[in-house]
């Protein structure tokens, strides 16, 4: 057995023994995060099935009539650690859980768009809301008749 193979075997065995440790260590501190990218429009009345109830309410509050779910990103994040998701048209969002207590969740939401290769922050907000329920943030016009709405939730 050459020293190279001996070393490779040793490294592999060490990896096997150590690999699960960091996963187990933080397992109970992860929280589920979900971010949605919704394209609202005045050009049509098409509504994604998941957004039917939302559309009914939002159409009363805004001029938009169509709501299309463009992207759904789900992941996990620890307290004060961001979960980041790439959305549509170079937009991305970061959700950072700050505090979870009973049915309330405090979080930070940051929306960024990559323009000319550089990320530009569009919005940052700290808010508290219901755990597992989505907060709606109207970010920016996507075109003449379209608007980007981001919905974020932590549980």
């Amino acid at each position: 057995m050459t020293p190279r193979w001996r070393l490779a075997g040793l490294v592999a065995i060490c990896c096997v023994l150590l690999a699960p440790v960091p996963i187990r260590a933080g397992e109970d501190k992860d929280f589920d995060v979900q971010i949605l990218a919704i394209r609202a429009t005045t050009a049509n009345s098409e509504v994604s099935p998941e957004l039917k109830d939302l559309a009914e309410k939002l159409s009363k509050q805004f001029k938009y009539t169509g709501f299309k779910l463009e992207k759904k990103a789900a992941g996990q994040a620890k307290i004060d650690k961001a979960f980041e998701a790439e959305l549509i048209e170079n937009y991305s969002a970061e959700v950072t859980p700050r505090e979870l207590k009973d049915d309330r969740v405090k979080m930070n939401l940051k929306v960024t768009r990559r323009e000319d290769g550089k990320p530009k922050t569009k919005l940052k907000t700290d808010l508290t809301t219901e755990r597992g329920k989505f907060v709606l943030v109207g970010v920016e016009k996507l075109g003449k008749d379209e608007f980007l709405i981001i919905a974020a939730a932590v549980r």
Partner: protein, 172 residues
């Protein structure tokens, strides 16, 4: 056999019996000189040599030396055989190790990958969409030409939201 032969009878007997320790070096020397003049003694000694199938007196000496017991020979042979068998087993083990190590390394890597994936938290299923009925906004920052926001905390069948508006007051 002459009178001189009688003087060397004990020496000849000792040589015939292999009892070399009983013969003084001086007696052997004298017997050697006697043999040159005495064909009978020479013939008698030759008889001893023929019977022993030996070439010289040295062979008699060798024959009289302590011999190895059969059980000692067996013990030594068994030890040699055992050592050979152990060495063979060791050689086989080393060969197996040499051939098996790369396979073991590959297997360990495969096990590592399997464990890694197996222990990863299962991807969380996205849960159904339900808008929050209330929101408390602790702070909002907007950038670029977006000059303001419109915030509704909800209530009265109104959804809470944060809505960025542009400098013209339009919805961004």
């Amino acid at each position: 056999m002459t009178t001189g032969c009688n003087e060397h009878r004990e020496t000849l007997a000792a040589l015939s019996g292999g009892a070399l320790d009983a013969i003084a070096p001086r007696a052997i020397e004298q017997f050697g000189r006697h043999l040159a003049d005495c064909p009978r003694c020479a013939a008698a000694l030759a008889g001893v040599r023929a019977n022993d199938d030996a070439d010289s007196v040295i062979s008699l000496a060798a024959k009289s030396a302590p011999q190895m017991f059969a059980r000692d020979a067996d013990r030594i042979w068994r030890a040699v055989s055992t050592a050979n068998a152990e060495a063979a087993r060791l050689r086989l083990f080393r060969r197996g190790l040499r051939l098996g190590s790369p396979l073991a390394a590959v297997a360990a890597c495969a096990l590592m990958v399997t464990l890694w994936h197996g222990l990863q938290p299962a991807p969380q299923k996205a849960w159904g969409f339900e808008a929050a009925s209330w929101v408390e906004v602790d702070g909002v920052e907007v950038f670029d030409d977006h000059s303001g926001i419109f915030v509704s905390s909800g209530g009265d069948d109104m959804l809470p939201f944060i809505w960025v508006i542009d400098e013209n007051g339009d919805e961004s």
